[in-house]
Amino acid sequence: MMTNELQYLSILPELILTIFGMLIMVLDPLMADRASRKPMGWLAFVGTLAALGATFYQGTHPVAGTAFFGMVRTDAFSIFFHVVVIVIAALAILSSLDYLETQGIRSGEYYGLILLGTVGMGLLSSAMELVMLFIALEISSISTYILAGYRRRVAASAESSIKYFLLGSFATAFFLYGVALIYGATGSTNITAISQALHNNHISSLTYLALVLMFVGMGFKVAVTPFHVWTPDVYEGAPAPVVALMSTGPKAAAFALMLRVLFGSFGELSQWWLPLIWISAALSMTIGNVGALLQNNVKRMLAYSSIAHAGYLLVAFAAGQDMGIAAAIFYTATYAAMNVGAFAVVSHFASRGERYVSIDDYAGLGRRSPVLAITLTIFMLSLIGIPLTGGFFAKFYVFSAALKSNLVWLTIIGLVNSAIAAYYYLRLIVVMYMKEGDDSVTLVPVPVATAAALLIAAGLTIYLGVMPGGVLGYALLGAQDLMR
């Protein structure tokens, strides 16, 4: 048992994010109604930087271990995911600053919600209690439900918010029911205690039901087939920077939850849940990629692409072992970098009222705004998995882990899908560079904050593609901590 002061260190990033989030909630009503909320955005950005610093402090000082009566655990795994979600939040805030001005949204709560949502995402990777995990899941989800509806005058945005809210709460109810049943079956809601109970005692049939129910809840949050149907509509209506956040942040956090639950608690039953993962992975990759082929709206296309990428991630789950888990962890980080970047471009290019979101609108972008076109090209190439970008190594590690675990067919399905996926990502690049665009519309120059977000995202994408060793090494440490 640690002393009280050290206990607080183990949730330091969450504490900082909460304080900044509440500060924004207090300051916002004090501002004039018509005043720009940009200062709030910068305050939120400072908050994410402080939280990032706190996470690095956790990584370099001996804070590791459980705290608060086994409620949270700080280890390489939790620290890795904290860095991922906090960087995502920071980039989403940067690309929101000017987006909100363009859309005429004056609201400081927007930034407060991002910070408070990040608290939930962070806790999802460090909590060791199913009840705590459920609360963290709700914190991150409820914030994103509200954020999805932020274009209040647009019916599509309200539709997005309501759909996400109704289906999302339905899915969390499944998860909660699973938690209740597993408590009934093993007498505990602690991740490690459940694992021990399953190891030592007879496994009751209730356990299997609980596992399936929890899988439904988690599958919804990470948007894998057959729980993916909400994704395109929600992503289409929600504000583009919010999609940047929710297609990566809550998703990475939910994958952390899935890793914790499946490998931490139900490792004993891996033979049993492996087929579920296998089928879900194969279906997600196929349906995601085929669906993306048919889209003309960039946001919808990226929504289907996110389903497909969740599928690749599940392949790493199916591979299991340290290497498979490390590949999954590495994949979430890479996917976050490239997808946040892609949506940052979409956010800026969409203009007032999100007018320009169809693929044809991107025609001639290569000439009209070379910088935007080049960064978007980097992200698209990375999403395909071209060498020298992070996407290549992410896929490479996933499929080599899968081959090591003798998942030959799943690997073949994945590789065929990667080839299909190349078509729709390349299509966007072709449209940008080889089609004549409408030059009559003058493009707004990229604002500083958005440019910073793009630079960081593109930098990370290339860094992960050129020198993946360091991050992969840390992912491996995380995987070992998870299996311990």
């Binding site: 009280n4 509440m22 909630m25 207090v26 916002d28 009503p29 004090l30 109604d33 005429g104 949204i105 004056r106 609201s107 209040r152 005058r153």
Partner: protein
């Protein structure tokens, strides 16, 4: 024997009797002592501030939902105080904890107050703010 088993419930019975006594007492007394002025409004069926008759398909002020939501939020938050108050003395006895239990609840109340401050400043508690129906944003 039966007397002994029911004995612990005696306070509840007394409370019931007192509550019933006060309730009926108030009604009877106001019926005897009170003045009566009838008006059209007063004789209508009571309906929480809405016109009780007519078409039900008209727009309701969003305030109804806001008040209902806030009620549930603060109600649930206040309920957390009760289990804390019940075990408070035991919290003090935990070795090395000191006033930890006290300060934890103060932090919690502080967070609730931040929410209250936000709601107040946003004007949700003011019933007569016509411009708010357009929304504070945009």
């Amino acid at each position: 024997m039966a007397d002994n088993q029911l004995a612990p419930y005696l306070p509840i019975l007394m409370q019931l009797l007192i509550a019933a006594g006060i309730g009926t007492g108030m009604i009877v007394l106001s019926a005897i002592l009170g003045q009566r002025k009838y008006s059209r409004m007063k004789m209508q069926a009571y309906e929480c501030g809405m016109t009780p008759t007519g078409d039900a398909q008209h727009r309701f002020s969003v305030k109804f939902y806001l008040v209902a939501m806030l009620f549930i939020l603060f109600d649930v938050e206040a309920i957390f105080l009760i289990p804390w108050a019940v075990v408070y003395r035991d919290l003090l006895k935990i070795p090395g904890a000191g006033l930890f239990g006290f300060w934890e609840m103060m932090v919690y109340i502080g967070i609730v107050l931040v929410g209250f401050f936000y709601v107040w400043k946003k004007g949700v508690l003011d019933w007569n703010t016509p411009e708010l129906s357009e929304g504070p944003n945009e």
